[in-house]
Amino acid sequence: MIETPLNAKIKGEDFTELPKDLYIPPDALEVYLETFEGPLDLLLYLIRKHNLDILDIPMADLTRQYMVYVEKMRAIKLELAGDYLLMSAMLIEIKSRMLLPKPTEIAEEDDPRAELVRRLMEYEAIKLVAQQLDDMPKVGDGISIASAYYQHISQVKPPEVSLDDLAEAWRNVLKRASHFKHHKVGRSELSVREHMSIILRRLKTDRLLEFTQLFDVVNDGIPKLVVCFLAILELAREGLLRITQQQAFSPIYVQIALDLNHGHE
């Protein structure tokens, strides 16, 4: 693989002569190297840092510096993406092609660095606009949108619930209740009116409950469940409850009819 020649190259360089600004305190190194978004980002950093001319990149310098970084990444066992190694190979290839004697008639575009330069420039342009996009104010972060309150906005017209839907939901409650065979024949207060109050009280705190939440199928016996159901029907009949369902077979919701709030407003 490319690792062997790569290592040989690195070891061939004198590490004590690193430019000063390449020195990074060992603890900071990991964080530091992770800030690069990839090999192109690292190359651009090196080019800018050392004021290299991107249109006439000194390949030997750039490759050497790049390798130093890649080697540091390897040394601290930073998970080194294949992308970085691929770039190493590309740099070395460009460098070696530049060492070959040039045929005199070679065209300008045949510079082995051309593709690298194109990619670096394109990436740099993207990096800049990404920064600009990031800096632009956005809705929720710098831009506040008018949203004056208007009741109808949140008021989806509630669909009608047919008697069949309600009966079906009721049968489901019974069916589930039958799984819990508690036939408690207690002297519990079963008055429909009392349950109406209980339900209203619950809806005052919870505002919106699913139909099935009103039934305690585990603890209440069937008589109590029946009373509870009758209480719901009675509340609906008296216009105190609103029972809604978004669509067939979806959950049925129960909430207090709005007229109840008249007293408070």
Partner: protein, 185 residues
């Protein structure tokens, strides 16, 4: 009632105003036309919107046009005050997310392969998911090559959120501006 409904310009503007102030999303010309029982020319509607914009010129909110339509928003000079109401700042997107977004915005429609080619690293699917969940990018088709990779583009919602009418209003992309390079480190 219906006869007098559209008789008065001031009243027409009031209807537009209340609709725009109470809408949580920008309203398009078509949306706004639906406010009126009687047929209205688009040119008339535009004129009314222009007048409404003028009426609000000295107010704290301004009527602006973004990609999906018109909306009222707080004038920029109040942004700093309003920001104090919600001290928990919007989480910042990573550079990977912003660069990917920039590539999609400026080079759309693009495949993941195109993005990888430009950034020089593999596209993290988490990055794409974040942008899709924000409803800033979506799939607009497939490139007819082996594998039929998805083509991504930015959405109207992206433009709305950045206060833009169209992609043409994005900051211009300089091919190469040496002096503006900001070192991150």
């Amino acid at each position: 009632m219906a006869m007098s409904e559209t008789s008065n310009i001031a009243e027409l503007k009031n209807v537009l105003e209340v609709a725009l102030l109470t809408s949580h999303e920008p309203l398009s010309l078509d949306d706004l036309l639906r406010l009126f029982a009687e047929r209205m020319e688009r040119a008339t509607l535009r004129m009314l919107l222009d007048e409404l914009k003028q009426d609000w010129a000295e107010r704290t909110m301004e009527l602006v046009q973004v990609a999906s339509g018109y909306r009222f928003q707080a004038r920029e000079e109040y942004a700093n005050y309003l920001a104090r109401l919600n001290p928990e700042r919007q989480a910042k997107y990573s550079r990977a997310v912003m660069e990917t977004l920039a590539i999609i915005a400026y080079r759309q429609p693009v495949t993941r392969g195109d993005i990888e080619e430009i950034r020089g690293v593999a596209v993290n699917s988490n990055v794409m998911r974040q942008l899709q969940e924000r409803d800033w990018i979506d799939v607009v088709g497939q490139r007819e090559v082996p594998g039929r990779p998805s083509l991504y583009a930015t959405t109207k919602h992206f433009l709305d959120d950045l206060n833009l009418k169209s992609l043409a209003e994005l900051p211009p992309m300089d091919d190469f501006v040496q002096s503006e390079i900001k070192l991150e480190l």
